[in-house]
């Protein structure tokens, strides 16, 4: 087993371990921090297979923006962030089943696509910004555009959620959300 493969295995171990802690910890902020560790370990895996551009974009977007926004939302909404703040919902069994199914599907795709592949030291140009740009805006331009539509839908949804007109809740526009009052 080469050094690269050993490091890759260790990083994946860290990713899986911290992902498990992220869903099982009893404190919401700690869960977000374990999520950061998971995403960071995955970025390390990307680096090891030579996808330098993807790795740093992963750090920039997921660690530097998405989880920070998540923490921001936690603090802004005055949701409880103290001990025992991460309560489990009654949907946990369904959620567990769905996540096992998704994991199984992804694993099947990985095995059918990359079974028997060996990790070699990264070759130049494979994961460079130029090759990824060519791939996204050449071969995969349609999925890329559809993804941007998904983002647009999320944006519209966020606007609908924040604009609470009088016909929706019979309250003044600047009313405090109910959850924040207690």
């Amino acid at each position: 087993m080469s050094m690269v493969e050993l490091t890759f295995l260790m990083l994946s171990g860290v990713a899986v371990f911290s992902a498990l802690l992220a869903v099982s910890t009893t404190q919401v902020v700690h869960a977000a921090l374990w999520l950061v560790l998971t995403l960071g370990a995955i970025a390390g895996c990307y680096l090891l297979i030579g996808a330098e551009f993807i790795a740093w974009v992963q750090v920039l977007i997921y660690i530097g923006a998405v989880v920070v926004l998540l923490l921001f939302a936690l603090m802004l909404t005055r949701a409880p962030t103290g001990p025992d703040s991460a309560t489990t919902t009654s949907n946990r069994n369904v959620a567990a089943a769905v996540s096992v199914l998704v994991a199984g599907g992804l694993a099947a795709i990985m095995v059918s696509g990359f079974a028997g592949e060996r990790l070699a030291p990264p070759r130049g140009g494979v994961g460079s910004a130029a090759s990824i740009g060519d791939a996204i805006f050449g071969t995969w331009v349609l999925p890329f555009e559809i993804l941007s539509l998904v983002l647009l839908a999320a944006l519209v949804g966020a606007i609908v959620l924040t604009r609470r007109g009088p016909e929706r809740d019979n309250g003044a526009p600047g009313d405090v959300p109910e959850r924040a009052q207690h």
């Binding site: 902020v29 921090l33 740093w56 750090v59 660690i63 530097g64 923490l71 921001f72 603090m75 962030t81």
Partner: protein, 409 residues
Amino acid sequence: MNGLFGTESWWVVIAKAVLIFLILVIYTLFNIWFERRVVAKMQHRIGPNVHGPFGLLQSLADGVKLALKEDIVPTAADKVVYVLAPILATIPAFMAWAVIPFGPEVRIPFTDTVTPLQLTDLPVGVLYILAVTSIGIYGIVLAGWSSGSTYALLGGMRSSAQMISYEVAMGLAFVSVFMYAGSMSTADIVAAQAEDMWFALPLLPSFVIYLIAMVGETNRAPFDLPEAEGELVGGFHTEYSSLKFALFFLAEYVNMVTVSALATTLFLGGWRAPWPISLWDGANSGYWPVLWFLGKTLIFIFVFVWLRGTLPRMRYDQFMKFGWKVLIPAALLWTMAVAVVRRIRLDGGMDQQTVLIVGGIAVTLLLVIAFIPERKQPADDEEPAETDAFAGGYPVPPMPGHQETRPDA
């Protein structure tokens, strides 16, 4: 990219890493002194002048004082995260310096080894800097949350919103530089400016947007809302003391130098000598470029200090409005314009004059649009109400449009 990266012997790499660390720490001590002296000059004071020549050792004395203070951990604090936060703020600030080029290839004294004055170079170097500096936000956000204090929490919250907002404008300002240089590697960008010209000239709007965004990113005046003393005591570091507080201090100043160095590298020709000096043949070889580089960086530090000495702190809503409604749309428009012009010129479809004429027409149109007044919103109440300034028992300034009544008038 230089072929030497990745093949250097281990002692060269370690020596360069230690040197970068030392330069940054000493530069921080110098900057604290520099800031205090310059602000003092602007306010007709003298500033620190007792310890060492010109008071240069004042920051060192303050550092030792901080280190010897009692280290307090509040009872309400989340202990692990409370200790982790200053570390998370400091380490990324130093990490960004791995790809900043200080100078060309030089011979290490007393040996035959030739090495570039840069720790390493990545094909996506600038992206790497953006990524690691964005990790530094965690230090501030978590410091605010884990202190168990409302002031600190508000500071951490402001900081996270502020940094995310201004990072977008910052990233957009970089895009046009990438398009001009054709690379994201810091060394390549410096080389591209040697062939062309300093990118601050053709990409002036990008440069201005970056300058504004970098002040927002580093939480400095007039954008120092996360630690607004007047409202939040000390903001995110209210509950911190001793060396933990010193680490936040260090991180802030190192970040200041980092964004200044990035501005130098991307817009002001990096380590290459400025015009009158560049007439001298030896200006861009040997160890001289380090001097030019640090000099250009110091200019940005001076701008930081100048802003702090001149401008009052912005209100939070003004700050956010400015970031999202002015800075980001302007950066988007400018990036589009650069992309279009760059493409046309690379295809050889337009000469310099046509570009200038079209650009002039576009700027005029934009200005005309900007001067069309917005439709006035119907006012809620017709006559401006009167405010009794002393109704609550203490003086309150009147709301806009309200008439102030003086009890003694």
